[in-house]
Symmetry: C2
Subunit: 349 residues, 2 copies
Amino acid sequence: MTFDRLKDFIREAMTGLGLPEADAMTVATLMAEADLQGSDGHGVSRLPQYARRIKAGGFNVRPNITVVHEHASTALLNGDNGMGHLVMKRAAEIAIEKARTTGIAWVNSQYSNHAGPASLYASMPLKHDMIGLYFAVGNANHLPPWGGLDMLLSTNPIAAAIPAGDEKPIILDMATTVAAYGKVKSKALRGETMPEGWMIDRAGKPLTDPKRADEGMLLPLGGMEAGYKGYGLAMIIGLLAGTLGGAAMGRDVIDFNHDDDSVTHTGQAVAAINIAAFGDVAIFKASVDALVRDFRNSERMPGVERIFVPGERSHATRATRMRDSIPIPDALMRGLDQVADDLGMQRLA
Amino acid sequence: MTFDRLKDFIREAMTGLGLPEADAMTVATLMAEADLQGSDGHGVSRLPQYARRIKAGGFNVRPNITVVHEHASTALLNGDNGMGHLVMKRAAEIAIEKARTTGIAWVNSQYSNHAGPASLYASMPLKHDMIGLYFAVGNANHLPPWGGLDMLLSTNPIAAAIPAGDEKPIILDMATTVAAYGKVKSKALRGETMPEGWMIDRAGKPLTDPKRADEGMLLPLGGMEAGYKGYGLAMIIGLLAGTLGGAAMGRDVIDFNHDDDSVTHTGQAVAAINIAAFGDVAIFKASVDALVRDFRNSERMPGVERIFVPGERSHATRATRMRDSIPIPDALMRGLDQVADDLGMQRLA
């Protein structure tokens, strides 16, 4: 599947679902970008769920996204329950514009929704020679507080994007759990068991059967040994992305995988840091290049073929998929056919 | 040992070592605060090392700390190789002042030095109803890139402090490794072995003898299963705290535990986020209180007595030590006696 064909399919579906043409194009471009870079759990695979939710009235297809509070370097956006892609693209644009003059800016959202992979928004400041940061409250709680049993936290992701010179930008995008919940679902679909360390059951014992995922909880980053650190990170990210903007956090988070119509009141935050405010941009980029090369050329452990910096695999996937094609698994293609049939549009393939 | 007596001892030592009276008081207060809150590896235990370094000419005792670059919401401070406590206190003050009007501010340092526990600086914005963030390049590389063998990263810590209402503030302060290097040193001193998962040797096998620490490397947060995440965090923090401010990162980091006279060119970053820029401060604090209570009251796993939020143990330690006393281990007391004798001042006890 080519990037352009995939994007066009999503755009047509979004228009059919009621989004204005320009918004449909924005969402389609970001969703197809997610697939292009290998964020398969956050791209077109979400389209059937989005379509279901829109039909159930869970998303506002014609949101009036407004700035609720604004200062020289901050803003709070009310997403009016529109698709998160629209809200967070706007948030990143505002952050970039403000950081141009003040050096840094930070924009929170409220009444936003699932926006796809965190890296998309952290990467938006890159072409303006800015560093991007992104924090989000995930759309389902799979994590209790450390030592607890009540699911009060999501896998709250953090992303950071750092411009380089000749090298590709460094892009970190990680859930604060050992494994993202999407990886558990993939294991279940493939009929495989999970390694010990991804999940535990309510007695604290390792849970390795992904079909029993509902009986257990994800382990925060750090696992049994140091999971209190991942727990702490997930909580702080939730406070920054959710509570700070008056959005849902903790018990107020809606499990949008099992609920198509409640307003999720999702919160995210994006920051842009203007490198020029701290010195010469070319010198900064040269330093990043040198660092990447030092890392790549490090002596390797036995059996290690290559050392990667964060984002390098995504850059490679992007190049391969742009040249060849974006793979669409059969089960997903059937779901997309259903969406197309429902909307009376041409199937993807 | 009372807080006041300890602070006074450090202040006198710092004055004896050549710091101006006001600077000696600043450093002493922050170092004694570190001990008070239980950050034992970053308080008075560092005094013998600091004294040695000052005598070797490794710290500038009368630095001219200057603002190199400044925008409405950012600044870069040149610490003139002064003690890190002085540089980062100034950095936090500037960030707070700027965030008052612009909503957020971010200040980097260059030519700074070890500044004690990250939480001290992340906490400074709290009393101004601001959130604090802090990032630092550690002062010794103990971590290779994921899959590599060359020590190119430190345990680069991240700290975040979030104001609450009736509850104590939430304060996260963590190294991006499974265990901080100080914990390894403590195990060696006590003749204990380390649990598997803290360190590996150069063949990738678990290393549990802390006396052989020099033969191995710390595992990044996430351990064998997901250590690439901790590695990614450590790298991003190093880029934000070091590279962004033109400070040392990667191969340029000086191991200040084994080098008393080279300029470390340490970089840190501190940010202040003004909660009032995003909405009503009282509502924010009430939300944080509610969240803390939900977490605390979560159903617990078998064998768990209490659920903690980040910072809660430090708050408790602070209260206990303020009421009773700050414990000084014998070996440390002998080191402090030596400092006192060298400077011709009264011993601590």
